[in-house]
């Protein structure tokens, strides 16, 4: 009787995750140790999200997704259904995913098929006021200049790939190097949904690392940007008070999303899902005739999609793809991308300041990275440190929302070139 009971406990214990970790601690290519490291990383990310409040709306589900996907024997996420190690370009076998997949596999289809990021853009469109941009159209150029980091990092990652540093383009072909470099570069757009949209198409195995880098640095913008802002601009430039923005008519606000959609999609068709949904959301808001849709898109719909997106992106972080030097390099390159984007915007801001004879405060340039509204808020704060009576916030919102359009266009360019 007693031995039978002991046997029962024994067999049960052998089937637990604890036994799995400790029996395979160093076996199976260090499976147990790697699992423990992944769990520790997930817990650190949870700490950053909950205690440090780093973009908690996304980082929290991402970190938790990472946690449950890495607990042994749970098997909540089956990446092998999505990425065929022998043929990375193989088509998705939807039939097999539906038959064999579980909750997270089915939810991950929304990422894989590029459904969630455009839906988030719909909600962002409903929350965005393009008024400051319409009343000061030249500030849109700052949103373009702040994409500098995207392209600098792109070429930087290509150089690393060519010289075989960090394992980019693992199969050694130029095509993979370009695709991975583009996915890493787009972190510099400071736009999470855009980065996820590009990465799931060009380099799905890097998805979790890139998403985590993008959202962490967005949360760190108030720390990353000010040193560059003070280094590049002079005290006198930072004190410039800008003219008040003219009021924008309702007609302009309604026409804007329609025109932007036509212009962007005609030239870069691959940006259509992102820009199209962003502008649809904005049109719903500005038209004022579909208030109910606006409320749903910016609240319930966006919240639901955010949960699905976060948990599945986090669950793609498996030890064998995540615990590589590549991930560290992606985190480092992401920081480079953010810095260059900030510098690009600031330098263009200085140029505009010179050209307009001192009417533009170059501090609004750094807001060209699309993290809305953090980047604009940083411009406001740094400006006010120099001149307490200066209110740059609305002026900085112009480049800020232009940055969203700019990074979506940059994403479209990469997709046209490499998808």
């Amino acid at each position: 009787m007693l031995t039978k009971l002991m046997d029962g406990f024994g067999t049960f214990f052998a089937k637990t995750g604890v036994a799995e970790i400790f029996t395979k601690l160093t076996a199976d290519d260090f499976y147990g140790l790697k699992t423990l490291v992944m769990l520790a990383i997930a817990c650190v990310l949870l700490y950053l999200a909950i205690v440090k409040k780093f973009e908690p709306l996304l980082l929290l589900p991402i970190a938790f997704g990472m946690l449950i996907a890495n607990l042994p024997l749970g098997e909540v996420m089956h990446m092998e259904l999505f990425i065929d190690p022998h043929d990375p370009n193989a088509h998705l076998n939807i039939q097999r995913i539906v038959e064999e997949g579980g909750l997270l596999d089915l939810l991950y289809l929304g990422v894989k098929l590029g459904i969630y990021p455009p839906l988030i853009f719909l909600g962002i469109g409903c929350m965005t006021d393009f008024g400051p941009l319409i009343s000061n159209p030249k500030s849109i150029l700052l949103g373009a200049a702040a994409q500098l980091g995207v392209f600098i990092t792109f070429i930087g990652a290509i150089l690393l790939g060519v010289f075989g540093i960090g394992g980019f383009g693992a199969d050694g072909t130029a095509d993979t190097i370009f695709k991975e470099a583009a996915a890493i570069g787009i972190i510099g757009g400071a736009d999470g949904p855009t980065a996820i949209y590009v990465t799931k198409t060009l380099a799905p195995s890097l998805l979790s690392a890139i998403a985590i880098a993008a959202y962490s640095y967005m949360a760190l913008i108030p720390i990353i940007q000010p040193p560059f802002m003070k280094l590049i601009t002079t005290k006198k430039e930072r004190q410039i008070v800008m003219e008040q923005l003219r009021p924008v008519t309702k007609r302009e606000k309604i026409l804007f999303p329609i025109i932007v959609t036509i212009v962007v999609v005609l030239i870069v068709p691959d940006a259509a899902p992102l820009v199209g949904m962003l502008m649809l959301g904005n049109l719903i808001k500005e038209s004022g005739v579909a208030d109910r849709l606006c409320k749903t898109a910016q609240n319930e719909l966006m919240n639901i999609v955010t949960i699905f997106l976060g948990i599945t992106v986090g669950a793609t972080a498996k030890a064998d793809t995540f615990l590589t030097p590549k991930t560290l390099l992606i985190i480092a390159l992401g920081l480079v991308a953010f810095c260059f984007s900030t510098v690009g915007g600031l330098i263009f801001g200085k140029i505009m300041c010179k050209v307009t004879g001192g009417k533009v405060n170059p501090l609004i340039g750094s807001a060209g990275v699309s993290a809305v509204p953090m980047a604009a808020r940083v411009s406001q704060k740094v400006g006010q440190e120099e001149n307490p009576a200066n209110f740059l916030l609305m002026h900085a919102m112009g480049p800020n929302v232009a940055g969203v359009i700019g990074s979506a266009v940059a994403a479209g360019v990469f997709l046209v070139l490499f998808a």
Partner: protein
């Protein structure tokens, strides 16, 4: 492709990508400017009905309530009870510094 061809193509893509981003945003800028020209004539008709609403919406200050608030604030600052002080008169100052500090405080809390 050898290494230099890959780098060369990467550079070409970089330059082209930046140019396309600028090109599209410049086109959007020009379109917005053109749009502004059309809406200027319209503007003379529109603001008129909006103005009176704003004035009507301005809340009337309840002086008793205001005095109560001031009494409480002064008592709290002095560390005594509200019963021991009496507000006889008050006057609004054009205190720039305090207004600015207050506005800044509100702004920083909101964003």
């Amino acid at each position: 492709m050898n290494k230099f061809e890959v780098i060369g193509e990467g550079l070409a893509d970089t330059v082209m990508g930046l140019c396309i981003v600028f090109l599209i945003l410049i086109i959007i800028m020009l379109v917005i400017k053109a749009m502004a020209l059309f809406s200027v004539e319209k503007k003379t008709e529109e603001p008129a009905p909006a103005a009176p609403v704003e004035i009507a919406a301005e809340p009337e200050e309840d002086s008793l309530e205001l005095i109560a608030v001031i009494t409480a604030a002064v008592a709290a600052a002095m560390g005594t009870s509200a019963a021991s002080i009496q507000i006889r008169s008050y006057k609004k100052l054009d205190g720039g510094a305090w207004n600015r500090a207050g506005r800044r405080d509100v702004l920083e809390n909101r964003f």
